[in-house]
Symmetry: C2
Subunit: 338 residues, 2 copies
């Protein structure tokens, strides 16, 4: 009962073995799936382990097996609705697969990211999932060089090895373009951030191309990060033009929320009567009745499932290294008709 005195915190397999009256190998084998152990000794070991509160030391196990069971999640802007939703799904799936998630925050652009990643390598993480928008090649290089499996989500990369999970951004952009036209819109605009990540650019280029195919031009405006505030600024830029657009496709829902708020409260422009708005991600706020934002749903659960199932699969090299998922259009009230 006197915890302050006891120095030895954890019980080792040795002690369990002694209590159970077997060899240490027996207890090791009991906790190793697929090892040869008779049901009788197995039970003796389990009882002793339970009584002593034994937990296999995964540091030691990882050392022996050369496989730590750690998966490293590299993510920026954790506080953002889309990112945190994806994070939630990923940790969920990893836990279901018996893996454990190590979280690396890449918000700071100074050396601390590199430092954190090195930290993860030191723990011999088996794999990394990158859901950071940062196009920092050195990060992915470091992961690959250290023998980790790598999953890139919504990120372009021409290297061999990593699994890439992307959406049909360009196709989605084309679908929303026709939706705008069908709603009677003629003066299209695209609101983007300056982040310039591949998926954002794919949406932009897809939208411009689809509009051109429909015989329409697109006003493109970019500003700052992909956040609410940037949406407001872009609204400022778009809504003060002599020829005001009547439909805006925003690269993310956060941009769209900022845009809608500015349009309504600052410029007293009605959505969707005077201007139609669409977003991308389907964050929770898009469904809030202040917005009712028509948007494309990121299939976060599917993304997480695909990522994890590849990470835990036996063969590291499936034939197809890139998965393209479909983004469903969620129709709400920010576009006329429908």
């Amino acid at each position: 009962m006197d915890c302050a005195v006891s120095q030895k915190l954890f019980v080792s397999a040795q002690e369990v073995a002694e209590k159970a009256g077997v060899s240490r190998s027996a207890v090791s084998r009991t906790f190793t799936s697929g090892a040869s152990v008779s049901p009788k000794t197995r039970q003796k070991v389990l009882d002793a382990a339970e009584a002593l509160g034994y937990h296999v030391n995964h540091l030691a196990r990882g050392l022996m097996r050369n496989e730590s069971g750690i998966v490293c999640l590299i993510v920026s802007e954790i506080g953002t609705p889309y990112r945190s939703a994806l994070l939630r799904a990923l940790t969920q799936q990893l836990q279901n697969s018996g893996k454990v998630a190590m979280l690396i925050n890449t918000d700071r652009s100074d050396g601390s990211v590199d430092l954190a990643l090195r930290q993860a390598i030191r723990y011999r993480a088996d794999a990394s999932v990158i859901l950071s928008g940062l196009p920092d090649k050195s990060i992915t290089d470091l992961c690959l060089k250290n023998g980790q499996r790598l999953v890139l989500i919504n990120r372009d990369d021409d290297r061999e090895g990593p699994l890439k999970i992307n959406l049909d951004d360009a196709d989605a952009a084309a679908r929303i373009a026709t939706a705008f036209v069908r709603a009677g819109c003629r003066k299209l605009a695209f609101a983007n951030s300056q982040a310039g990540t591949p998926s954002l650019m794919a949406r932009e280029h897809g939208f411009v191309a689809a509009a051109k195919a429909l015989g329409l031009d697109v006003i493109v405006e970019r500003f700052g990060h992909t956040g609410y505030e940037s949406g407001r600024v872009v609204a400022q830029q778009l809504l003060t033009r002599k020829e005001r657009p009547d439909a805006v496709f925003c690269a993310t829902d956060l941009l769209a929320c900022g845009f809608m708020d500015a349009a309504r409260h600052q410029f007293s422009i009605s959505v969707p009567d005077q201007i139609c708005v669409a977003g991308f991600d389907d964050i929770e706020q898009a469904s809030w009745s202040s917005y009712g934002l028509t948007t494309f749903a990121q299939p976060v659960d599917t993304i997480a499932r695909e990522a994890v199932s590849w990470l835990v699969s036996e063969d590291a090299e499936p034939e197809n290294h890139t998965i393209r998922l479909h983004a469903d259009l969620v129709w709400r009230t920010s576009i006329r008709g429908g």
Copy 2:
């Protein structure tokens, strides 16, 4: 260059030692702060390590030192704005302190939580931070029993040992009560979830008590989880009463957003003209101009700083084991006057 063939992925201290022409102890000491190594050999080791791409194996180090450097973050509802903001701050601080974060998702109420936690114990995490609302005693017990330091955020617990970080919930509730009264409100209500976590209940009881001191009654309504949808439901319950309240304090911002949306769009009640609303947490959405929610700011950065600085401190037992932080009132437009 042929990576597919090479089996040996990581270089060991042994190899670095050979390349540098020193003993293995020398390279170990080079990477151990406070060890005795001459600048000359130190440099030789660093050069060799750089050339070979050596990274200290923290699994092995943790095994020796009986200290893994891993801090386990136990969190439910990761996708929620407040939680993800706190998570962001915590990972940031941990990285700054050279620790590494292991993320445990406790959303599923089945055995998977317990499983994941055991997983963390197997990695010999030095500490756990619990930012889960769930009052699951068995989790905290397991952490403490395995010699981890424990930080409980916005959670009540009468045990000795863990560091508890709380806000002045009751005091904040009293402040908002007087603000309501000063705005001319007389029929107060409190919107809560059924989660019944200590901090939520402290806000409720503090509000009711403060109102009573001001000679006013409070209608209390509780429903579901602390989310947007619950806010809408509570609005349904409060705004269909014969005697409609003219001020509502919501236990969280998410509840408040749901409440405001229902009030405005479903009941066509104007905020703040016909009803004043306040929230708690100061999530990003509270500042969006569709809401302009007057609310109390959770000092997430301070919380994270306090938590981490205690975790990394030398002496495990400071005199005062509970920190009570102040929640600043952020005044916006959901209450008249100001």
